[in-house]
């Protein structure tokens, strides 16, 4: 009896408060703007397929649900911001937003959300927007299954794909971002998760992370971005099962960790990056069960890092396993598999009996004199490397894996 009442109450309430407004060429409302003007909090606006040039659509009523049928096109005519949200619990679902204006002063975007909470942006297609989805001072926003494509060639002329500033508890899930300046940009964002996104061919970073603590990113693919992924000045970041691939160039890294503390990386896959992981001023980073395959440098650890622990990672087919710039080593390597290891295992415990030194002499030389790369794998450099292996002089004494695995660590 109690439940029946409750259910009836809900039906009643829903029927009363939320109506559906339809927009389309053959509907009462020809434009979304007029529909929004008409709407009250909690209404649903259903938009038919078509081409809408509405200048800037501002949503300032709470709980509005904007739903596009067959991806109606919202055209910013290269002048305007397309949707601006300044209300809570808004849903934007199934639109195609094209051609936002370009302005570095106003950060014109496809969808911009100010000072709001619980907004849901999903299933939209954004093409040629300056900034794609822009979150500023928001809480509990979900950005899900959007496809963002920009086609700028110059960094200065392009904005970020999903730009998040000073926010909390965000969920960025299943988006595909390409051609922006940074694919996903986080600044002062905490307690958020980035999950199952594909960020590729962006001009600068696939993911740019600054001053953002207690975040996690899982199952993302970062491929062929100008400089890979950059995580800076943040604490307690967790990274699981991400793919970092084909980030090529001098300053390009699979992932750059700068001034990072208490990070945790597991199950990530680094393939064909110039340097897979570049660490500078990183402290207490725990890297476990990652795969480094066919990178130029698997790891570049600057001497400013400390307490970085690498355990049970697989290093396969990298040109150089580890590069460093100094002799001070406060990091630990244990039970990793190195395909260049030439030791033996007499007691058959699957752990090599002599330590592996992942820093080759030539990687030190190339670090100092980059053009020396042209002599790599020549007879003389091979000789130098072999001599160094027998009589270490240039490579740091303490940088070694004392218990390297004979077979792949997992």
């Amino acid at each position: 009896m109690k439940y029946t009442l409750l259910i009836i109450f809900f039906f009643f309430y829903a029927g009363l408060s939320a109506s559906t407004i339809r927009v389309g060429a053959k509907r009462a409302h020809k434009s979304i703007r007029s529909a929004i003007e008409k709407a009250v909090d909690g209404d649903t606006i259903l938009v038919d397929a078509g081409h809408y040039k509405e200048k800037n659509i501002v949503i300032n009523k709470h709980g509005l649900v904007l739903k596009g049928i067959d991806h109606p096109v919202l055209d910013g005519e290269k002048k305007y911001e397309i949707i601006t949200i300044k209300a809570n619990r808004v849903v934007i679902d199934g639109f195609k937003l094209i051609n936002s204006g370009v302005s570095s002063l106003e950060d014109l975007s496809g969808i911009k959300i100010y000072d709001s909470r619980s907004v849901n942006i999903r299933n939209n297609i954004l093409e040629n927007t300056f900034f794609g989805i822009y979150l500023s001072n928001t809480i509990h926003i979900t950005v899900e299954n959007n496809r963002l494509t920009a086609s700028s060639v110059e960094e200065q002329q392009s904005g970020n794909g999903i730009h998040c500033w000073k926010s909390d508890s965000l969920k960025v899930i299943g988006n595909v971002i390409s051609g922006h300046r940074d694919g996903i940009y986080f600044e002062f964002v905490k307690n958020s998760v980035i999950w199952r996104n594909i960020s590729k061919a962006n001009l600068r970073y696939g993911l740019h992370f600054m001053f953002s603590n207690d975040d996690m990113y899982v199952n993302n693919v970062f491929r062929n971005n100008g400089s890979g992924v950059s995580v800076m000045y943040s604490n307690r970041i967790k990274m699981f099962s991400n793919y970092f691939e084909e980030n090529w160039g001098d300053a390009a890294h699979g992932i750059l960790l700068k001034e990072i503390s208490d990070g945790f990386m597991e199950g990530n896959y680094f393939m064909k990056n110039t340097s897979a992981v570049y660490m500078e001023g990183a402290n207490r980073i725990y890297m476990k069960r990652n795969v480094f395959e066919n990178n130029g440098w698997a790891l570049k650890i600057q001497a400013s890092c400390s307490d970085v622990v690498l355990e049970m990672n697989n290093f396969i087919g990298n040109t150089f396993d580890v590069g460093t710039n100094g002799s001070l080593v406060l990091n630990y390597f244990k039970n990793n598999y190195w395909d260049k290891y030439e030791g033996y295992d007499l007691n058959k415990d699957k752990v090599g009996d002599i330590p592996y030194r992942p820093v080759s002499m030539y990687s030190m030389i190339v670090e100092k004199y980059p053009p020396a790369m042209i002599l790599f794998r020549s007879f003389i450099t091979t000789l130098l490397d072999k001599t160094e292996k027998i009589l270490p002089s240039l490579t740091p004494e303490n940088l070694k894996d004392s218990a390297p695995m004979m077979n792949k660590a997992f």
């Binding site: 090529w248 980059p370 042209i374 007879f379």
Partner: protein
């Protein structure tokens, strides 16, 4: 001319050293591919064979063969044949037999295990290096009458191209570390066919590392079509110039 080539090739292919060389390459390449669990490591071992063994065998074998054929050359010279066609036929015969030996010994395993761009580049450069070092051997034999001196000169040339030259480059690099050396490095590499071949393979094999800043300069140069054409032209020069010069010398040589 084709007739002489035919006879030179049949003669060389029956030579035990070429047979041993082919079998050595076959055994080495199959073992590096089957022993290593990932075939790119096999490619690396093969790279060393291509860059060290192939030039060595090519230059030494060609030199010895030329000295041993002195009387045969005399015999041919007493026949109504142009000197130029005798010399070029000998070169064509030697170069093609060494290339065939390389292709059977290393090319086929590579095609079986690594039928891709890297493998293809390796086979190409291996063949070109075989031909280049046969050409350099011709230069050495036409310049010196004495067999021991000629073989010594060949070994020195090999040592120079595979070791000393790179040492010199490394030295120059350290001396001029403060200057932008990338372009100069490209220029220097053209002076050594082994280096040029190595870089061409490196751009395939270590593409990720080569994409670093200086690498990008190299990649931009060697990776682009023009750079590739340039590299192959230079390698071609390394064949044509020794052959042309030795032919000229041979035309006026007393036997």
């Amino acid at each position: 001319m084709n007739k002489i080539i035919k006879y030179v090739i049949t003669d060389i292919l029956r030579n035990r050293i070429v047979l041993v060389y082919t079998i050595f390459l076959l055994a080495a390449s199959f073992s590096v591919f089957s022993l290593e669990d990932n075939s790119s490591k096999g490619l690396l071992s093969l790279l060393n064979i291509i860059l060290i063994v192939v030039p060595l065998v090519s230059i030494i074998f060609s030199t010895i063969y030329m000295y041993n054929s002195a009387e045969f050359i005399e015999l041919l010279l007493s026949q109504p044949l142009k000197r130029r066609s005798i010399w070029l036929s000998l070169f064509a015969g030697l170069a093609s037999s060494l290339s065939i030996a390389f292709f059977i010994g290393a090319g086929i395993p590579v095609l079986i295990y690594q039928a891709n761009m890297i493998g293809f580049t390796m086979i190409m450069t291996g063949i070109i290096l075989s031909v280049i070092f046969a050409a350099i051997a011709f230069l050495a034999t036409v310049k010196t009458r004495d067999k021991a001196k000629g073989i010594g000169a060949s070994i020195m040339l090999w040592l120079y191209f595979s070791l000393l030259f790179d040492g010199l480059v490394l030295f120059i690099l350290f001396q001029f570390a403060d200057y932008p050396m990338e372009k100069a490095m490209i220029g220097l590499s053209a002076l050594n066919p082994i280096d040029l071949s190595r870089i061409l393979i490196l751009l395939q094999l270590d593409v990720s590392a080569m994409m670093g800043y200086t690498g990008a300069v190299f990649k931009e140069f060697f990776g682009a079509t023009n750079g590739l054409i340039f590299s192959f032209l230079i390698l071609l020069f390394w064949i044509v110039i020794p052959v042309w010069y030795s032919t000229r010398k041979f035309n006026t040589k007393d036997l």
